[in-house]
């Protein structure tokens, strides 16, 4: 899933300052799971903005709140067409994709980001999420025992650990495991160390010409032209 963090309240206050009627729009999928922009966070933020506004007295806003099942899906955005017609801006608590989906669907309206989208990851324990995938477009987890060095090694190197690892940790962060030691240990358990002995050539960054598009092989209509 996508993991994000809500922006600080004063940054959000500054962002909405010039808009009177604001729709705070949550997302019921990833942003709900990572506690950054689900129904609960929308309601907390709504209250916090109201309190902040009464304290500072800068600009009088009218807020609405709504949480869609997913913001990244045009189908769901149709549900807010009427509400959007009455506002001056949408404060999206969706990830960066949600913010842009709103901007594309409602071209006449400012779409403001309420969260900083951080990474693709998984829940480690309640309230803790770890990055796991860099979406590099060229998955090589088969050769690295299911542990991604592109994401989990800060240098994203392919041919084994650098010399900076100490106590099993990464040179850049003493709290972070060295990805390459994890790969080594797991390959050893799987009796696949020969995969680490192989030479891996430089990555092909053409697998990530941004922005990317994937067209389903089963879909008949590929949609509009790319670009």
């Amino acid at each position: 899933m996508i993991v994000a963090e809500q922006k600080p309240l004063d940054e959000i206050s500054r962002m909405i300052a010039s808009y009177e009627r604001v729709l705070i729009l949550g997302c019921g999928t990833c942003m709900t799971v990572c506690d950054a922009g689900g129904e609960r966070e929308v309601s907390f933020l709504h209250n916090a903005l109201r309190v902040a506004q009464s304290k500072i007295g800068n600009g009088i806003h009218i807020f609405w709140e709504y949480t869609l099942k997913r913001q990244c899906d045009p189908e769901f955005l149709e549900l807010i067409v009427e509400r959007v017609a009455e506002v001056d801006a949408v404060l999206s608590l969706g990830c960066g994709i949600g913010v842009q989906a709103v901007a594309e669907r409602f071209p006449e309206l400012p779409s403001l980001p309420g969260v900083n989208t951080s990474f693709m990851g998984m829940t480690r324990e309640t309230g803790v999420w770890d990055e796991r995938c860099a979406a590099c477009g060229d998955c090589r987890l088969e050769d690295t025992a299911g542990i991604c060095p592109i994401t989990r090694c800060i240098k994203g190197i392919l041919n084994g650990p650098c010399a900076g690892t100490k106590n099993g940790k990464c040179e850049a962060n003493k709290d972070m495991d060295c990805a390459w030691l994890l790969v080594y240990e797991r390959l050893e358990k799987l009796a696949q160390l020969e995969r680490m002995r192989r030479y891996y050539p430089p990555r092909n960054f053409r697998t990530i010409p941004r922005p990317r598009r994937i067209i389903s092989k089963t879909s008949v209509d590929p949609g509009e032209e790319y670009g």
């Binding site: 800060i154 240098k155 994203g156 190197i157 392919l158 041919n159 084994g160 650990p161 650098c162 010399a163 900076g164 690892t165 100490k166 106590n167 099993g168 990464c170 040179e171 850049a172 962060n173 390459w180 030691l181 080594y184 160390l193 680490m196 002995r197 030479y199 891996y200 050539p201 430089p202 990555r203 960054f205």
Partner: protein, 300 residues
Amino acid sequence: MANSLFEEKLYSNEFLVTTEIGPPKGADISEMVHHIDLLKDKVDAINITDHQSSVMRFPSLGGCLLVKEHGGEPILQMTCRDRNRLALQADLLLAYSRGIVNVLCLTGDSVDAGDHDEAKPVFDLDSVQLLKMIRIMESGTDIAGKELKGAPNFCTGASVHPEADFIEPQLIKFEKKVSAGAQFFQTQGIFDLGSLRRFMQYASQFNVKILAGIIVLASARMARYMNDNVPGIIVAQAIIDELASAGKGKGLQKGIEVAARLIRTIKEENLCHGVHVMAVGNEGIVPDILEAAELVGVPS
């Protein structure tokens, strides 16, 4: 035919001595030039570091040109931290065209360690891929397969960490560097000769030259600091205790003694093919260390 004086010596069975100079942070090169003049005839080659510890400085290539101009033998340290494959190849062509042919291929420290921690880390290649890239360029094409007008020729080195606390994956990487074409290795700091002996028992099966890295410590505090903060480094407790036993203001003297003793033992016991002395900011004391190690007169 050897590409450089250093390469010639590499295969001469002489005990090799290299050292390194960290370029200045700024455009004033007078101190670096002074160190080059001081060291160039006392060692077989001088490495110029490449934004060591990710601290922005005068470039390695610029320092190597100065070594060359002053009649010394440079080793170009090249990390993959700041340049993508185009820039690395271009710098290699420039280096070769100006007679700089010894290259130490490193992945490079993470940018988090340095003074520009918001910079974009590049790492388009890693050390093994950089070594391979050099071999490809020598064969006459760039790594996209396009023909080069004039192929370069280098003497390539790499680093290895015999004292890593988790040695097996480091040895796998070492072998990959050997296969990728590394001719010599300058090791990370050696503080415990036991680990060097063990490493050499293993490494001697490969046809590469190993220069043991000797870091000159100026105090017990510096040693502890390095243990806590410098990637990979593990200063043995015995050495920390020895440094701590030195009187006030005598730390550096003790550090020189320790370094000289390590070098002497390595040479006497023929543990490896040479040493690489890293004085980390104290380049001026390298001649004293060599003298204390009874290596003066090298090179012959």
